[in-house]
Amino acid sequence: MNWGQLAITVVTLVSILGVVTLVLNMQYGHAGMINFGVVAYFAAGAYTYVLLTQPPPSETSLDQYVIGLDLPGWAGFVGAAIAGLVFAAITGWPTLRLRGEYLALTTFAFAEVFHSFIVNEQRFANGTRGLVGVPRPYREELSFIDYDIALAVASLLFLIIVYVIFERMVRSPYGRALEALRDDELALVTSGKRSRRFRLEIFLFTAPFAAMAGAFYVWYTTLAIPDLFTSEVTFVVWIALVLGGEGSNRGALIGITMVILFEELIRAIPFDTIRAAQIAASLEVAALGLLLIVFLRWQPFASLTRAPKRVARS
């Protein structure tokens, strides 16, 4: 087993999915808005990045996609963020009045519709076949270092930036207002605050980060295929958040680290037959579910991830 390669993979994936977990924690853990469609931001960012940076379709290939702008990597990255914002606006605005499970169902539906669009509209990104071997940007500029290491470092930096921003928000009166909204919206409204403003704002502000994580994911996998952006991503992130402790950014990161470590360790086991690998893949999902139940029942690391208290204490 190549431990170095495993470490690089874990750091990269934890950083990328960690950002998505943090976004979910801001929306659900702090503001109490149940989002079961968080994969859609991730996918919107990934696909937008690809459409903006890939070359136009050639006549000779089997490609069916229409848009290919051949822009530089950074433009694709910025585009991904904007796509996340637009998607959050489209889904956030009509769902402003929805609470609890209604919001959960609607966000889930939006994500499924988007996924279905990617699968079925060949002209968007080749449908189910997707785009394979997406070129990684800035390869030459980074030729002095192993690209995988560079990507791991870049995604870790991205995670740190997002963590610092969110943590500052959470510890400020803004985070307090979000938690007040989660605790009792009517009490907040009768204190003269527009709860709708906070609901919409937290959707719009956090979604672009998940979308940018989507662009990182494309760099990592060099793939933009629908199978990578199913609701499974949403559920993995949810499991991570519940494991780590909703309402705590640190907990969210501990949770996603545990999940990714677990998955990657199982994947690193050398299996002799394909059948064995298939069984292991199924057992991995079952084991993750079992882990979730165990954590919910006994909360073994609760003290590690208890939500931090704000500065405004006497």
Binding site: I165, R168, M169, S172, P173, Y174, G175, R176, A177, E179, A180, R182, D183, D184, L186, A187, L188, V189, T190, S191, G192, K193, R194, S195, E201, F205, K309, R310, V311, A312, R313, S314
Partner: protein, 254 residues
């Protein structure tokens, strides 16, 4: 001068006339009681004033400003403070944070929250919040999260939360329900102090002993309308009020 003027306000729920052509005024700086038997529409009136219900007709003016048709947050921002029959608070926040979360803050804007340009304002607000917690007797509980408070303490926290906002008028919905006698005395004391400082207060209360000793004027509601109003002594002996509460004996004249 009238601070609050309610004129011909109605609200129906299905076939029930919860509030029916109701009119009364509240003078600035006064301490007014609003009483009436169950179902008289007292809480509905509070919900209409604070914008949780929209009146079907009539007008509600605070300081000359029309409240009817505005959203609850606008009305609250215009200076209406209210508490609920079942006290509401931000139960995962500490008592101190409950008060701080009830006033507008620069730090509630994204940029300011990330850049941290709210610190000075926050310190001043914290000092004020502690004063209000002391005032309602929760000074020693400021770091305790609200879900650890007793029912009576929750009511006091809600009052403190609203006071923190510096409202023009404070509407209290059954503030003594579930509150221990000691805390009740404290509450009455606090309300008298605030009254002395010029705050306008309207209290809905079933505990008439508490209310009639506290207020200077009482508005009596029956079946969604104002039956009568007057000073507590007049209300105490008003046969109409007594019969509204206790029912009429057969054969009594209307």
């Amino acid at each position: 001068m009238d601070l609050l003027r309610i004129e011909g306000v109605s609200k129906h729920f299905g076939g029930l006339n919860a509030v029916d052509d109701c009119s009364f005024t509240v003078e600035e700086g006064s301490l007014t009681g609003l009483i009436g038997p169950n179902g008289a529409g007292k809480s509905t009136v509070f919900n209409l004033i604070s914008g949780l219900y929209e009146p079907e007709s009539g007008s509600i003016k605070l300081d000359g400003e029309e409240l009817a048709g505005r959203s609850p947050d606008e009305i609250a921002a215009l200076g209406v403070g209210r508490t609920f029959q079942t006290p509401r608070s931000f139960f995962t926040l500490s008592c101190l944070e409950n008060l701080l979360a009830s006033i507008p803050s620069r730090g509630e804007h994204l940029m300011s929250s990330i850049l941290g340009t709210y610190r000075a304002e926050e310190e001043a607000a914290t000092a004020r919040a502690k004063d209000y917690l002391d005032l309602v007797g929760l000074g020693a509980r400021s770091d305790i999260s609200a879900d650890e408070l007793s029912g009576g303490e929750l009511r006091m926290l809600e009052v403190a939360r609203q006071l923190m906002r510096n409202p023009k008028i404070l509407l209290l919905d059954e503030p003594t329900a579930g509150v221990t006698p000691t805390l009740q005395v404290r509450l009455a004391q606090t309300l008298r102090e605030l009254h002395a400082q010029g705050l306008t207060v309207v209290v809905v209360e079933h505990n008439l002993g508490f209310l009639l000793d506290l207020v200077e004027r009482v508005v009596v509601m029956v079946s969604g309308r104002v039956l009568t109003d007057g000073d507590p002594d007049a209300i105490r002996s008003d046969p109409e009020v007594i019969s509204a509460y206790l029912g009429r004996r057969d054969g009594d004249a209307a």
